[in-house]
Amino acid sequence: MTFDQVRENGGRLFEIWQQRGKEIYVDLPDADARSITATLLGCGCRVAAVFAEDRTRAEDRFNVYYVFDNPEDPRYLLARVPVAADTRTFPSLAAEIPAVNWQEREIQDWFGLIAEGHPNPRRVALHDNWPDVHPLRKDFPIHTVLDPFEGERHVYRPTLGEGVFQIPVGPVHAGIIEPGHFNFAVAGEPILYLQLRMFYVHKGIEKRFEQLPVNRAVYLAESISGDSAFSHGTAFCQAVEQAADAEISPRARQIRTILLELERTYNHVADIGAIATDVGFGIANAHASRLREMILSVNEDLTGSRLLRGMVCPGGVRWDLLPESLGRAREILQVFEREFADLMQLIESSDSTRDRLERTGILLPEKARDLGIVGVAGRASGVDCDVRRDHPYAAYDSVSFRVPVYREGDVLRRMQVRVDEVRESLTMIRKVEGEMQPGPHRVQVPAISPDRCALGAVEGWRGEILHWIRTGPGNRLERCRIKDPSLNNWPAVVEAVQGNIVPDFPVINKSFNLSYSGTDR
């Protein structure tokens, strides 16, 4: 059922107050929020994001938004629940929809609103040792200097019983990875449960967006998660273009598609190598990191940056792809494809590798659906979502591609989704590159009028990236909400490690490979 059908069937269930491009905005009086959400979920919709904005200065209230994704509708539905500035309470949906658990608590931390009825209303984003501040409120200056903190004082769920003990790990880890704290409760080798503490790398990015003019803010978007620089940059630029009613050229769409797929490829091949390393197959990683280097050199040749930074801009891309660079890229990708097949043959012919990956770190499809898991991890557990297909952007509506979906939800399938996607990406790049349209690579985007709301959605290599903006005066932003897929997916790691042995934790964690920076912002 499309959103319109849901609305009609429910007897004009909600009022639409704005419809632009791929977004429908509706108002949800807070008394009805629960029942209408239940109806939408009953029709197969999924809550993609929850966030708030401070409108106390303009309208004397806050707004909480729920973003719904519908498999039968190419649009996103944004349901707005007004929150009075004096009571500051909004109804929590976390008990019915576990997927919104963290995001509702984030709203409590950032804005000081109260999610009424939340089953676990403790802080998630602000650590327990932070003073009582709400950084995304308009009356909180970004340059506020807070006193130095003592260590984190979070109280973990106790671990009791004979032979049962805790293993605290992090925030500084043994490898070259990002910081976060894991608290394992174990009975011998098997993990009873895992408690996470994130937001160690919180940098105030959403607040920082409110300081910068739009053209400079693109660089901030690229710094949300460095390995997804181009995806985040594109999501942000799409939101800006939508708010400015700007249409980019077919050529710019194609260039973005090629670069998005290159980003997916270099990350996927690195992950495949890293998964092999974590089960002791180092030589496969040596080949994989060599292959990743091939793609990074293509990136540099096409855009001037190995990580595709500084390339995307509102209105298209900053530089056209040169024919000679494209020619070189074509040759390298041909070699890459052959080498990638060899790499996969090496890995697939190793029985001991398969033995370690199969039935390890299982995330069941029901759990994945309830927790709102997206991207690679979702598709390995039966969640058939892909923004490229469901909400086409760039040039994805002009290419056909397969979205791999498995139901087993183990490490092996999360690797297999990546393998399949690399192959699809190579085919897609070849197809788009063969059909390059002439025309400008960039169009001028006019200054945006204030109070425009827009959503940018991109399927990054990890999964669904959303950027929601409200524009302010002077080509600046009033609010920018960033939803990296990692934010949805951390609870999946907690589920997947249960019952597995501690030595398998690195490979399980790697098979999700979530961005700490993207989560913490």
């Binding site: 506020t144 500084v172 070259i176 790398v201 990191s289 500084g310």
Partner: protein
Amino acid sequence: MFKILRKTVQTGLVTIGYPNTPAKLSPRYRGAPRFDFANLTDPRAAADACPTDAISIVEVDDRGHVTMDYGRCVFCGQCAEADSSIHMTQEFELAARHRNDLVVNAEYGLSADGEHYELKELEQNLAQELQGRIHRLLGRSLAIREVDAGSCNGCEVEITALNSPVYDLERLGIHFVASPRHADMLLVTGPVTRNMELALLKTWQATPEPKVVVAVGACGISGGIFGRNYATLGGVDKVIPVDVYIPGCPPRPEALLYGILLAVGRMEQKGLPQ
């Protein structure tokens, strides 16, 4: 087993020659922007375009002062697009021992009607002191502990690449270790978030003397695009003493290699493009 060996033999040698041979760069690679001060008259357009305020202007009465801070630069090329007297070079060996070595200053006169005249670069003395003792002790074999103190993980992508057969750090006697207690060097990324301040300090305290600290990337040097705010401190040297700064966003693997070798006295500081 034979398949693995055959693939290894087929692949052959893939390691680059740097630092013994020059790095292979694509013609499009963007390194440090270079300023042609003789032809640059009005730096305001470039300063406006810079996303990280690497180019900043202070005007007092009839004198203006421009600062170009390579410790904030993200090599985006916006300044070069805004002003034709600035162009992007391919220089990446920018690591320096002192924060001030990354800053270029210029002055200009300001007439009453707002016209600019006589923009000229100010003399700069590169700090060239050597810390001989540490270099002798750590120069030949070096153990590095990487610490992410709030990075966007872009720097980690490039640091991980150093372990790949293409850059093969171990051929230079350098390797990454799992604990600060085994480390000679801390390689620190990120603007240092408030939530990582204590962890960074403890990691530094756990590293035995003699130790070297290298700050990586625009964020590690100055806080980069995040700067200093309620959640970040604005650079590694706000918390622990830093021996070498490696500019970049992120620095390419060769730039990291150059900075690491500079820190242990196996390279000479080249200085900024003049």
